[in-house]
């Protein structure tokens, strides 16, 4: 019975992985098909030319650069805000905490288009109130996309840092204060080093969330576009397999990152196992 269940589970897992991967393989495969339409079914021969066209596409490169810039700006804003929010939340309790928490996680649950529209309307109205309708900051553009994305990405940072804070011993800060550290030192030398793993992880998540973002960006952007929106507009406008070439490269990048991560993990696990075996041997030797 148990073995039977494990077998069924493995079968289901394999099917599931296939279900997830086959569409991506089809898409990547179409990048090499010498056909004007992106498809694999009538295979018209192998070609590299879509990669050449992708390389020559200046709009794509502009969008790519914009994506990176927006993502860096989002990280620069969302990580400090989210960390500060976690620290504040951690030091209060009761109704106030619940209310604040509710406001902070609401944008994670809210649809992206609502965030996008509300951000545009707010800054536009602000510009109108100040009589500065023409000033670029109040109009649509990637700066508003950044702010819109920060509003919900900061919540991810907050949740991660808050979780990490649970394992922090406040006594360490007390000790530092008693020993004459000033407030800046307490933050820099005691609290932040403890939070660094969570901060690093949340920075990575914030970066990729921002690159991935579509809904908020679509509603807040003006003429400049990001990579995700560029892909969307290409698909909408009738596509060439250029996009497949792009997809192939992005999937390849993902695979390489995953492989590096996995190898790193297995190396660490091996070291850990060796260390444990060593400890066991030492223990046995001592018993003798």
């Amino acid at each position: 019975m148990i073995r039977n269940r494990a077998f069924l589970g493995q079968l289901y897992f394999t099917l599931f992985i296939l279900y997830l991967l086959v569409p991506l393989v089809v898409m990547a495969g179409a990048a090499f098909n010498d056909s004007k339409l992106p498809t694999v079914a009538p295979w018209k021969g192998f070609t590299w030319r879509w990669f050449g066209e992708l390389w020559a596409d200046e709009v794509m490169w502009g969008a790519f650069l914009n994506s990176i810039l927006v993502a860096l700006a989002v990280v620069a804003l969302a990580v400090p805000i989210g960390t500060a929010a976690a620290i504040v939340l951690n030091s209060i309790s009761g109704k106030v905490r619940a209310t604040l928490y509710g406001f902070m996680v609401a944008p994670v649950l809210a649809p992206g288009l609502v965030i996008g529209i509300s951000t545009v309307l707010f800054w536009n109205q602000l510009g109108h109130t100040f009589g500065a309708d023409e000033f670029f900051f109040f109009g649509r553009g990637l700066h508003l996309a950044t702010l819109g994305q920060v509003s919900y990405i900061a919540a991810y940072v907050m949740l991660l840092v808050l979780a990490r804070l649970q394992s922090f011993d406040p006594g360490l800060e007390e000790a530092a204060l008693d020993l004459g550290a000033n407030h800046g030192q307490v933050l820099r030398r005691i609290l932040l080093p403890h939070l660094y793993p969570a901060i690093a992880a949340s920075a990575a998540i914030a970066f990729f969330q921002s690159i991935e973002n579509f809904n908020v960006t679509l509603f807040t952007k003006a003429n400049d576009t990001t990579l995700t929106v560029y892909v969307f507009s290409q698909v909408r406008a009738g596509i060439t397999p250029k996009i497949n070439a792009l997809a192939f490269l992005l999937i390849l990048l993902t695979l390489i990152l995953a492989l590096v991560y996995e190898m790193n993990r297995q190396r660490k696990a091996k070291i850990e196992a060796a260390r444990e075996a060593e400890a066991r041997r030492a223990e046995e030797a001592m018993l003798l």
């Binding site: 494990a6 589970g9 493995q10 289901y12 897992f13 992985i17 997830l20 569409p23 991506l24 089809v26 898409m27 339409l37 992106p38 498809t39 079914a41 400090p80 805000i81 500060a84 620290i87 209060i92 604040l100 928490y101 902070m104 996680v105 944008p107 649950l109 809210a110 649809p111 992206g112 288009l113 609502v114 529209i117 509300s118 951000t119 545009v120 309307l121 707010f122 109205q125 109108h128 309708d133 819109g148 509003s151 949740l159 800060e173 204060l177 407030h183 800046g184 579509f214 809904n215 679509l218 892909v231 698909v235 909408r236 996009i243 992005l250 999937i251 695979l255 995953a258 996995e262 993990r265």
Partner: protein, 311 residues
């Protein structure tokens, strides 16, 4: 608050509080307030702003009820306004997507949490994560390729001799929303999987064994032991998938047929093509309200707290 002051002093505490205030007020509360406000004013050219026509009105909301069309729900013909019809379809099919992802993800979450060997888990999870790192736009595009009339799916089915004629998948077989449902399920199934997996992991395996030792058949063990324990995860997954599906603009635009309208597309048309931001605001207010109601409903049905859902 006292605690913060004592640890970090006035200066740092003020900076922390200012950052939190900036986030909550400038990025969250005021924009939504602004959207609510704008939704009650008519759309006017810049020259007429602050003029006699710029007064409080409900006309933006009334547009939802304009343009009745003939349609049918499950064979019953009715006449309803076109945008209400779109809205109801969006909610209905998003709920369907949520249900399908739950059915697909639950057995896998159980397998990963309780059946698979713990050593292989990191590798298995990584395998699942890879497709999630590929952007949604590309995943929708992948299905666009598969489902096109001259695409690989039809070619495969013809090759196997299952069909003679290609099927127009994008127009749908059962309803015109088929393609959208398929692709949304594909895109968001992992958002259902991971919360449920996390929830089941925290269940003590002894409880499952105890149930089995006491003679419980496998389905009852799931129904009475595992599912109740996984409830917060299921609630979290359902809310996430429903929100993402109902709010998706990308997938319906890329793979949807011309007959299948998704509510975010309607909002986008008002906002971007008609440039009528005020009506767009009114529509997205309605949308936001329904989303809030859905979260509250999920919290009631599953008896969980907000902090269980948003993790």
């Amino acid at each position: 608050m006292q605690d913060l002051l004592r640890r970090y002093g006035t200066g740092l505490t003020t900076i922390f509080c200012l950052m939190v205030a900036f986030w909550i007020l400038v990025l969250i509360v005021l924009p939504n307030f602004s959207m609510l406000f704008e939704s009650f004013f008519p759309y006017l050219p810049v020259s007429e702003l602050d003029g006699p026509k710029d007064v409080f009105t409900l006309q933006n909301y009334e547009k939802v009820l304009a343009n009745p069309i003939e349609t049918n729900w499950f064979g019953i013909p009715i006449t309803i306004p076109i945008h209400v019809s779109t809205f109801v379809d969006t909610v209905f099919f998003s709920a369907l997507v949520t249900f399908m992802t739950l059915v697909l993800a639950y057995p896998l979450a159980y397998f990963l949490a309780k059946v698979a060997s713990p050593k292989s888990i990191p590798t298995l999870l990584l395998l699942l994560f890879i497709p999630m790192w590929v952007s949604e736009a590309l995943r929708a595009f992948a299905w666009y390729i598969i489902l096109t009339f001259n695409g690989p799916l039809n070619a495969l089915l013809k090759g196997l001799g299952l069909i003679d004629q290609g099927i127009r998948w994008q127009n749908g077989i059962f309803t015109s929303y088929d393609a959208i449902v398929i692709v949304l399920t594909y895109c968001y199934v992992l958002f259902m999987l991971f919360p449920i997996y996390t929830a089941i992991t925290s269940l003590d395996t002894n409880q499952i064994e105890a149930a089995e030792d006491l003679g419980s058949p496998w389905w009852r063990t799931h129904w009475r032991v595992i599912i109740p324990h996984a409830k917060p995860g299921i609630a979290s997954g359902c809310v996430m998938v429903f929100m993402l599906s109902a709010g998706s603009l990308l997938v319906p635009t890329v793979v949807g047929s011309t007959k299948a309208n998704w509510f975010p597309q309607t909002i986008y048309t008002w906002f971007n093509d008609a440039l009528d931001w005020n009506t767009g605001a009114a529509y997205s207010m309605i949308f936001l309200l329904v989303c809030i109601m859905f979260v509250i409903l999920a919290m009631r049905v599953f008896k969980v707290k907000l902090s269980d859902i948003a993790k």
